[in-house]
Amino acid sequence: MISSAPCSTEPQRKARQRGWLFSLCLAFLCLLTPAAVLAEQAAAGSYLAELLAKAQEHQLHRERYWHILLHYQPTLTGGVESLIDDPRFFLGADGKHDPAAELEATLTALFTVTGAGEEDPHCRFVARDAWLREVLAIDPLRLPPAACREFEQALAKVDPRSATLIFPGNHNNSPASMFGHTLINIDGPYQSRLLSYAVNYSAFTDESNGFAYAVKGLFGLYRGYYSILPYYVKVREYNDLERRDVWEYELNLTAAEVTRMFRHIWELRDIYSDYFFFDENCSYNLLFLLEAARPTLDLTARCRPWVIPIDTVRLVRESGLVAETHYRPSKATRISHLAGRMNRSEERLAKELLAGKIEPGELATTETRPAGQIRILDLAAETVEFRYFRHEMDREEYRRRYLSLLQVRSRLGLAEPADTDIQVPGRPDRGHGSNRFGLAAGWREDDFFLETRIRPAYHHLMDADAGYLAGSQIDFANVVLRWYPERHRLELHAFDLINIVSLSPRHPFFKPVSWKVETGFIRRSFADGNEHLAYRLNPGGGFAWGGGAQLAYVLFETDAQLAGRFRDGFALGFGGSAGLLRNVTERWKVHLRGRQIHYLFGDPHRGEEVGLEQAFTINPAHGLLLDLAWRHEFGVETTEGKVGWNWYW
């Protein structure tokens, strides 16, 4: 630039002339502006006063939509409190608790030019802005002009037309996915669902310590944020990486309703609320978005004190929002399906191919038919990618192998339709409810008893599998009370705090482990020949085989028990269990199990048990059970049998 400074070229001269003109105009304007601005501000002030009076007169701060937009919930003392914890979300001094003050502050802010651009209240709180303009019939010409370029661009890009509730279920061996999760997709003008945008509410953290993470999640020590990302990113994450089948529930929201929802999502950008695992969690917070779309919905108030994602799916369905349902099988499900379609020689070749013993090109020289070669190559490509995700191969090796598999595959045409058509399993929202109440009657030795039990969540091995994962159990806070009429005795029979079992069958292409964790209070026999309560922590790990209608398993277990009745107050032992779980018919399930533990430390003894449990499903809400058990502890034998009824809701 320095070199060209001496010579003034034509355009530069023109620019200079324009500069002069501009300065003149500016000077002129400077003389005029203060008066004009003052007059304008006075007019705006009086208009604002008029609107504030109107808002007061109509008691707008009591309107349901205002409460939805601010996430207000009634408190025990009769007031309201917003579930949003970020002070930046409120314009009023006590906006978290005072809807009237917040409304006044918001309205006032709309008349104030802050010069903050995108952070200007108009642009920051676009849904509030739109609603107030509408209900107060605000004359846009009398409001300070505000262009929200970022919001408009985002809106144009997302282009909301409809919405879908997304439910990535849990997968067989991941405690991480336990109860599933929910997202809301905003669907744009495209046919491909992958091009939708997924709205998610989740905790924000870079914590790497699992224990700290879990504890903090339970007690609301993380901040939850709303996010919006392309759905294909989420599909990769849930479907491909985490092996979770995904369910998509199309909602019957209109384009106008979804646009309203999008405005509200925009307001929640970078705004945090404290994240609580049980209630103020991912699923609960998404319900506000649906209410923002259609204010006549009342979802957040109808929630239980604990919110399980699938329950919110049911709630949404019961509110009449669900139109159609789609199933998106995970990569693992696709691999299992292909493996199930293979004959022995195809399976052997696939294994050799994956082990690197043969090259993809050599398949053509085998006797396998093209359809079989396609199955082998498709399975191998999916599996190679899967192994790369799991860091079992580096990127260079992955690229080389993936590419060479696909190159050979591309010469073979289309797969047989049956190789890609995966049967849609039972809808998770149609499965049994996650609350269970049960009544039973039976004998323990010679004593007749009546039993009642209640469990707030979620699924037991013996509950009907439809909509859940076969071989999985996640029971929380299961309380069992027994009354022995002859002895006039009511006792706590068991209180399972957590009882998780994950039986994941071995597979030609996956080698998952199975495991269990049980902790809680149990009633058991002691050396004095009587039964007393003990606290038990019982983890175990092992393998399962089978699949489909039956599973067999072996687990190696550690059992630590605490009770005053034990010598030294505890017993610690090792052993194992084995069992066979079989769906004899669609409604009749049988579980035969045996377990033996050698308690070596504390109070040494041996414990053995054998049980046969049967469950009959009447419908998703009702089931019957018949249990027989034999136990042998400290040389004391106990047999018991009971019949009962379970109600799920």
Partner: protein
């Protein structure tokens, strides 16, 4: 005539997106080739790290509103929405796209066709010609999204 218009459109898309891609690569080279999209240690197999998500389905990293920034820092043409999405989609779905092209069917391939505005009646032909030309589209597995799109246009002619 229709075919010509389609090809012209394709060309346009590819030129614009190629520009975007190269701009992006100057600052960040991660958007290239197969096997680029990984989620930190999320897929790692330890029960411990998985249990992290049990409580929160946590967000890692710091992107929460990813509406306009899907191509890892690439400059995007501000007013060609379709090509922006095409580019973003291709960058993020290269592995799935490669698989679907090799198979001659699949959701990512259908999505690509929709983004390229391939008319419904020409889709079958489009998929078949890409499948037939797989080896000419993915040569090293390290090619960038822009490169791949470029070759797709050539292959579908």
């Amino acid at each position: 005539m229709k075919r010509l218009r389609f090809v012209a459109l394709l060309g346009c898309c590819v030129l614009l997106s190629a520009g975007a891609a190269f701009a992006g690569q100057a600052t960040d080279n991660t958007g290239c080739g197969l096997g680029t999209i990984l989620w930190g240690n999320k897929a790692d197999n330890s029960v411990f790290s998985q249990s992290l998500q049990a409580t929160t389905n946590g967000l890692f990293g710091n992107q929460t509103f990813g509406i306009t920034s899907g191509t890892l820092g690439c400059d995007q043409p501000a007013n060609v929405a379709a090509s922006e999405r095409l580019m973003e989609f291709t960058v993020a779905n290269m592995d799935n796209l490669a698989r679907d092209i090799a198979r001659g069917e699949g959701e990512s391939l259908e999505t690509l066709a929709e983004l390229l505005a391939v008319p419904a009646q020409n889709r079958g032909e489009f998929y078949a010609s890409l499948q037939g030309n797989f080896a000419a589209i993915f040569i090293t597995g390290e090619e960038s999204a822009a490169n791949v799109l470029d070759r797709i246009v050539v292959a579908s002619n």
